[in-house]
Each structure stands twice: as structure tokens, then as C-alpha cells.
């Protein structure tokens, strides 16, 4: 089981791979859309990679609720 810090750094690596955003900029308070300028297509890719990396399921209705990086980290931590 990954802890909060490990999930955050793992998620940041995925965001860097998919959207080219420096891992240092992927912090808990950042909004995927408003701050990181990630479009809906990239969010789908990020979700699929996160599912594989952390062994979670992120259904579409849940994905829509994950507004910030912190939301995603909390969801993964709870459901892994």
C-alpha cells in the first residue's frame, strides 16, 4: 500500500508523462483543469495509468469529481 507521499509522487510522474507538466508543479492544491491545463482526453489517460499503477478502479463518475491533485490522491489512498 502506497502512502500519501508515494501516491502524490507517483501521480505526478503520470501527469508529467501524459501532459508534460513538471512533477514539481503537481501539488495537492492544484486543479487539473484550471491550474495544470489538462484536457478531458488527457484526464482519461491519467486515470487509466493511475489505475494500473495503484491497483484502483476510477469509474467515470468518480473521475469527474476529482478536481484537484489532492482529490485524486485521497481517492486513490482510500480505494487502493
Amino acid at each position: 500500500m502506497a502512502d500519501t507521499a508515494e501516491i502524490l509522487s507517483g501521480l505526478a510522474e503520470i501527469v508529467e508523462e501524459v501532459a508534460g507538466i513538471d512533477t514539481a508543479d503537481v501539488s495537492a492544491d492544484k486543479s487539473f483543469v484550471d491550474d495544470l491545463d489538462i484536457d478531458s482526453l488527457s484526464m482519461v489517460e491519467i486515470a487509466v495509468q493511475a489505475e494500473d499503477k495503484f491497483g484502483v478502479k476510477i469509474p467515470d463518475d468518480q473521475l469527474a469529481e476529482l478536481k484537484t491533485v489532492g482529490d485524486a490522491v485521497a481517492y486513490i489512498e482510500k480505494n487502493q
Binding site: V18, A19, G20, S40, L41, S42, V44, E45, V48, E51
Partner: protein, 412 residues
């Protein structure tokens, strides 16, 4: 009616990563053809093992994240468009005012085949990993209007985005439609051209089965030999050519450098056979004559024809006969596909740029590998060394599967 002028051009081809290096390599008589190193050539035991792959890999030019969101055909289109846009002096820094009203700026860029490698890759992922492995970018990467749409995003073109598809005539047809749009005064600037990157097992196999590809695998650089008696088919290539076309008044008002004039165009169709050209060359001749007529010129003004000539047995002879019949026996010919192979949807655009530069600089590149001219080609074809020649006007021909004929006339 306004003139249509060329103010910028860009290309990435088997000969070079930009227009200048492509032109220099062409004049130097270099070949962009080589062995295909991918494993599928041996895996499927394909009788054709050669192609004209890009001289510069798109992934060496584009930022990684941009590259992974685009099909290879889109990558080459964007690379060539950026070069052309900067070359035309239309690129601006940051939030500076654009030099053309976005609503008066259009894009017309097509592909002959389009995102076939994306389709194959994503189908493999679907088969091996199921739905969730398929990229959400699959459709925008494989759609034939993808290259044009991505260019419109780059340059903020809001005056219409169009993607003609006429197989090997696509790049030239795009320029022809741009000419029509500009002549009609609908827009001030059009970014036009063609792109292709379809060197893949299924396309090579398909062209092999249509008996159109050279099998001269032991000497790849000698395989593409338009008009030569030893020709045995074309060599598939990849790449893109993009031009910036403007209404002359608009270009002059902004002080742009004008490299030449797209003076006239002709678009016709054969309605004869799905792949074979009309043996009488009627459609090809009508395209050339329409281009000369719309340019307001006489056939005697055409000193040079940059040929479609792909190095197939039937096509080359047919084109030469059509030129002789339509324009006369005075034009001097060349066929760039000897050097770079056949760029399919990108061919007409890159060769249009080559024709433009021949008129501008007064020099015609030689047809590589033309050593023993087919006696049925009763015209003067430049071979061996480039030929210096002052040109009033030159025709560029592009023909495509489906019976598409596109001719362009360039003047100074």
C-alpha cells in the same frame, strides 16, 4: 482578380528536415531511399523492403508531449507548417497582434492515407489489452482532417479548415483549392499543402498487391528511376510540404518577401479506372491546359514541367505523352521522385515547392537514376546534372489513385 503569391514554405522529407536542405539535397543528386529496418518487412516476407523514410525524425524536433498526441502524419504536417509560417514572417511573439485577421486565415491540408499507423497501433492495443488501453486521442490522431486541424490550432486559423483527399494528388489539390479561395477573395492567407507518413506493413502490402512498388531491394538508392527503361515501380516515402499563399495586395501591404506566384491551377478527373490513369491522358492534359489558361498564359510560355512521374512502367510514359500532346515538345521535364520517392499525399506539395524554387532560382534539378531514357518518352528530361534555365512559367503535375489530376502553374 487578385494574384496568389507564395510568401513562405516548409517541408520535411526523406532528403532533409526542412525545405532548404531538401532543395540542396535534390540539386546535389542525393537519394533519400534506403532499406526499411522495421521487423515487419521480414516478418511478412514483403517483396519490397525499401522506402524513403524521413531524414529527421519528428520526435527529434517536436516536444515529447506534443509528439505523443499526434499521428506521424500530423507531426510532419505541423513541422512543415511551423517552418512555412515563420518563413512567411507571420509568426509573432507572445501576445503580439497577429499579422493576419484570424477570420481571414484558412488552412487546406490533406493526406492521401492519413493516420493509418495510429489505427494499427490502437487496434493492437485493443486486441491485447482491451478497451481501457485504447488512447482517447485515437480518433483525432487517425482522422484525415487531423493535420489541417492541428495546424489551425497552431496559427489560430478561423477562416475555415479543409482537408482534401485525392491520394497522390492531395498536396497539389490543396494548393489549387487555396488558389480558388484567394481568387474569390474569401480570405487573405491560406496555409496549404499535404502530409503523409504511412510506411507501414498494411500500406506496403497493399501497394505491393496492386503491383505498384519497386522491388529493387539490392540497390535502394537506384530503385526510384522515373522515365528510365529499368524502372519497376515507385518507392514509398513520407513527409510533408506546406506553403503560405496570400492575395498579392495583402502580402505587399505587409511587406512580405514574395517567392513566386501560383498563377493558375487545373483540377480534373478521369472517370476511367480506380487506379489506372486514362491511357489517352485526356484528364491529365485538360488539367495542364486549365492551369495554363487560368494563369492567362500560352502553352509556349511553359518552359518546364515538374512531373508526377513515379517510376511506374505505365504512368511515366502516359504522363510524358499527355505533356507532349497538351503543351508541346518544348518543355524540359524533371521528376523529383527519383530522389525522394513518392510522398503520397505530401508529394504534390513538396514538388510544388520544388517547382516554385526552379522558377525563382532558374535551375531544374536532375531526375536521379535516369540513365537510359525510355524511347517512348519523346521529351527532354534533365538527367545527370541540374540545368540552369530562365523560366517564365513551370507546370507541376500530380495525379492520384481515383483518377485525380492536379496541375499548378508557377511564375515569378
Amino acid at each position: 482578380m487578385t494574384d496568389v503569391v507564395v510568401t513562405g514554405y516548409g517541408a520535411t522529407t526523406p532528403l532533409g528536415g526542412d525545405a532548404a536542405s531538401t532543395w540542396d539535397a535534390l540539386l546535389a543528386g542525393k537519394s533519400g531511399i534506403g532499406r526499411v529496418t522495421a521487423d515487419w518487412v521480414e516478418r511478412f516476407d514483403l517483396p519490397t523492403k525499401i522506402a524513403g523514410t524521413l531524414a529527421v525524425e519528428p520526435s527529434d524536433v517536436l516536444p515529447r508531449v506534443q509528439a505523443r498526441r499526434m499521428d506521424r502524419a500530423e507531426q510532419v504536417a505541423v513541422i512543415a507548417a511551423r517552418e512555412a509560417w515563420a518563413h512567411a514572417g507571420l509568426a509573432v511573439e507572445g501576445d503580439a497582434e497577429p499579422k493576419v485577421d484570424p477570420t481571414r486565415l484558412a488552412v487546406i491540408v490533406g493526406a492521401g492515407i492519413g493516420g493509418v499507423t495510429t489505427l494499427l497501433d490502437q487496434d493492437d492495443l485493443l486486441e491485447s489489452g482491451g478497451l481501457r488501453k485504447v488512447s482517447p486521442l485515437t480518433v483525432p490522431m487517425l482522422m484525415p482532417n487531423g493535420p489541417a486541424a492541428l495546424i489551425s490550432l497552431e496559427i489560430n486559423a478561423q477562416g475555415g479548415v479543409h482537408a482534401p483527399a485525392s491520394a497522390c494528388a492531395t498536396g497539389a489539390e490543396a494548393m489549387a483549392w487555396a488558389w480558388r479561395l484567394l481568387k474569390a477573395g474569401e480570405v487573405d492567407v491560406v496555409v496549404a499543402g499535404g502530409a503523409e507518413a504511412c510506411i507501414a506493413p498494411i500500406t506496403v502490402a497493399g501497394f505491393v498487391q496492386a503491383r505498384t512498388l519497386s522491388q529493387r531491394n539490392d540497390a535502394p538508392q537506384e530503385a526510384s528511376r522515373p522515365f528510365d527503361t529499368g524502372r519497376d515501380g515507385f518507392v514509398i516515402g513520407e513527409g510533408a510540404g506546406i506553403v503560405v499563399l496570400e492575395r498579392r495586395e495583402f502580402a505587399e501591404a505587409r511587406g512580405a518577401t514574395i517567392h513566386g506566384t501560383l498563377a493558375g491551377i487545373g483540377l480534373t478527373s478521369d472517370a476511367h479506372h480506380i487506379t489506372a490513369p486514362d491511357p489517352n491522358g485526356g484528364g491529365q492534359g485538360r488539367a495542364m491546359l486549365a492551369a495554363v489558361r487560368t494563369a492567362g498564359l500560352q502553352t509556349s510560355d511553359v518552359g518546364h514541367v515538374n512531373c508526377h512521374a513515379t517510376s511506374t512502367v505505365v504512368g511515366d510514359v502516359g504522363e510524358a505523352a499527355a505533356i507532349r500532346k497538351a503543351l508541346g515538345d518544348h518543355p524540359v521535364l524533371t521528376a523529383p521522385k527519383g530522389s525522394m520517392g513518392h510522398l503520397v499525399g505530401g508529394a504534390g506539395a513538396v514538388e510544388g515547392i520544388v517547382t516554385l524554387l526552379s522558377v525563382r532560382d532558374g535551375i531544374i534539378p536532375a531526375t536521379l537514376n535516369l540513365q537510359d531514357k525510355d524511347p517512348k518518352v519523346e521529351l527532354d528530361v534533365v538527367a545527370g546534372e541540374p540545368r540552369k534555365m530562365e523560366l517564365t512559367a513551370a507546370v507541376n503535375n500530380s495525379f492520384g489513385f481515383g483518377g485525380h489530376n492536379a496541375s499548378l502553374v508557377f511564375t515569378k
